[in-house]
Amino acid sequence: MTTSSRNEESLNPVEKIDKLIHEPSRLLILANLYVVKRADYTYMMRQTGLSMSNISVHLSKLENAGFVDIIKEFKGKKPYTMMALTDLGREAFDNYRANLAEVFEKLDD
């Protein structure tokens, strides 16, 4: 096996990594949403250390991809905006973890 073909084979798992999820802030958001049913912006801000505007920007991208649902609801007269991972989002996050594990397994020493 030539060096270039060996390198091509080891790069394939890297190409499967979802770049939308792989961004550090979005990865943090998705990981925190994965372990709960749903949460609001304040919770996400406290858990991730990201700013509110930062979270909004990343959430828009995740919502456009169908990974996150943004739910606006009222408790009495007070409005709340909650976020939750969709089934597609959970599946994508599981695939991302599996792909990343595969990458590390196949990396040459």
Partner: protein
Amino acid sequence: MSENISLKKLEKRAFKTYHDDGTWEAGVGLFMVYMALYERLFGTVEPEAIRYLLLGFGVSLLLYAPFWALKKYFVTPRLGRVEFSETRKKRSKKAIVIVVIAVTLTFIPLIATILIKNSLVDWEGYRYPHAAIEIGAGIFIALVMTLIAYFQDFDRLYVYGVLMGMTMTTTWIIEDTYPFAIAGGIIFATGTFFFISFFRKYGRSVDEVADDHI
């Protein structure tokens, strides 16, 4: 990078955040101190109903109320709203079941006292050595608190459970409530320390920190 993110630890950390403000402990500690001193303060007040219901139960609730309000109106808005997973909810339900069973078991001797004379708490004609009940009660309390601590992932409750168990045993043996006051003081002080830590970390309202950049 994601290899080092333990989702289990992440979830546990998130859930623990909701216990780390110290308000529950401060409230319970103060309640214990009050109950320890209550007989000394109001032991001669008549009728008994006023003494037990109003000055005992009623004042205890009033003492705990500020901590409940602190949790609801100061702590929770700063931590944010979250609905934990079904797995977490099942664990919390198990803790509730333990509390219900423990309270039920505790009420059995109380009901026996009311219905049957010469019952467990009537020392004359008493079948078992006093020490067995005193030590048993302490172990029972420690065990119940330990189980609740496990299902609620509330690490400090392990220590409080042992402390409360020892306190119960000691209180019965020396027939004085000083151990209750000391244990309550320790728990109150710990709760206060954690609340101060919480305040230093999360004291600013959400609006103030909304656009801080990390």
